[in-house]
Amino acid sequence: MSAPGRLALGAAALALAALGACAGSLPSPTTADATRAGVSLERLTAGRGRYVAKCSSCHAPFAPTERTADEWHRALDDMADEAHLAASDRELIGLYLRSLARR
């Protein structure tokens, strides 16, 4: 690779890393979230995983705090068929979103 190419690659990698560090990511559930919701941390973590797997290839996933639990319930009703969500996926995704929803 040419020197300008290496420079461009290095600068771009740095920019991406900086953006990644600053922009944050979808929140991972904590023990406190699980205790408050009365479900296991494993199920909430699995729900986050299914949410990313099933939703993010079509659109950037919304943060759970962008909606209330009721709003998430309605949003999942709207999206479940369109995204071909299996019942188990829908339940896990719903648990994650409602447990970390805006209160």
């Binding site: 040419s2 300008p4 560090a21 944050g24 290839s57 079509c58 950037a60 996933p61 995204a83």
Partner: protein
């Protein structure tokens, strides 16, 4: 006349693909799209498991030292094998018009088939950095091409950034006298979502050809890119102009002596444009 014929055949291939997409549009469709927001730079997103997508590609490569217009067409079927792994199958054709002065040569050819595999490691929105590994092999009538990419991207609000490091090995003239041409490419792109369905951005490409391990050229391309989504269909268009190339410099004895930066129309085109049309099946 020959030019007309070649262009007509290229357009015919493109139209056939578009007709296929149109026919599919009439059928039931899901929202399981894997839309792209750039045309040269890949993103880490993968199709959901069991989802299918049809894509039509047209790449126009225009303007060299002599008359040169080339269309590379690809028809792709993409399949989600799991929520992280996808594979795709391509049929490739090319049409080329080249020549100098009054002499014009036209070619239209089947350019082989390709198999693509992509594995998503992390998500551009949900994780600190999106990443994926990509491999593609093309079997053509006169060449074998192996390509590997490392894909990094990040979605932050209405901005999406992507970076690809690409290594490619072209084996030409299969037979007794194979010619190896390693290629290194870096693609960098950024786009802004004007609405959730429409984005506008820039793409930068650095394409370096190293036949026999020696630098032939390292060309830089820059230009706008736009993408949109409408129901189960999406499209993306980039038009990149060559801003120059790093080229080997030769002394009077014909020996290589350093490099210089200049526009290279001997090995690379003045303009590269690509249009992608996708449809979730």
């Amino acid at each position: 006349m020959n030019i007309t014929k070649a262009l007509r055949r290229a357009l015919s291939t493109a139209c056939s693909g578009a007709a296929l997409l149109g026919a599919a549009l009439l059928g039931p469709a899901s929202a399981s799209a894997n839309e792209r927001h750039f045309t040269y730079t890949y993103e880490s997103a993968a199709l959901p498991e069991d989802a299918l997508e049809l894509e039509l590609w047209t790449t126009s490569r225009i303007g060299r030292e002599e008359r040169y217009i080339r269309f590379d067409n690809r028809l792709e079927l993409e399949i989600g094998l799991s929520d992280r792994l996808l594979t795709a199958f391509y049929v490739n054709t090319e049409a080329k018009v080249s020549g100098t002065g009054d002499e014009t040569e036209t070619e239209y050819a089947f350019a082989g088939v390709s198999s693509e595999w992509k594995y998503k490691l992390s998500d551009a929105s949900a994780d600190a950095l999106g990443s994926a590994l990509y491999g593609e092999v093309t079997f053509g009538p006169e060449e074998l091409e192996l390509e590997a990419k490392v894909i990094l991207d990040k979605r932050a609000g209405d901005v999406l950034l992507a970076l690809n490091a690409v290594g490619e090995l072209e084996v030409k003239d299969l037979g007794d006298a194979n010619e190896l041409e390693p290629i290194v490419e870096v693609d960098l792109a950024a786009t802004y979502f004007i609405t959730p369905a429409v984005s506008l951005g820039l793409e930068l490409r650095n394409h370096t050809a190293l036949p026999e391990g020696e630098l032939e050229h390292s060309a830089f391309y820059l230009g706008p890119t736009a993408a949109w989504r409408m129901g189960p269909a999406w499209g993306a268009l980039s038009v990149l102009g060559q801003i120059g190339a790093v080229l080997p410099k030769e002394n009077e004895a014909g020996d290589r002596e350093g490099v210089h930066f200049a526009r290279d129309l001997a090995h690379a085109e003045a303009v590269n444009a690509r249009f992608l049309l996708g449809l979730s099946l």
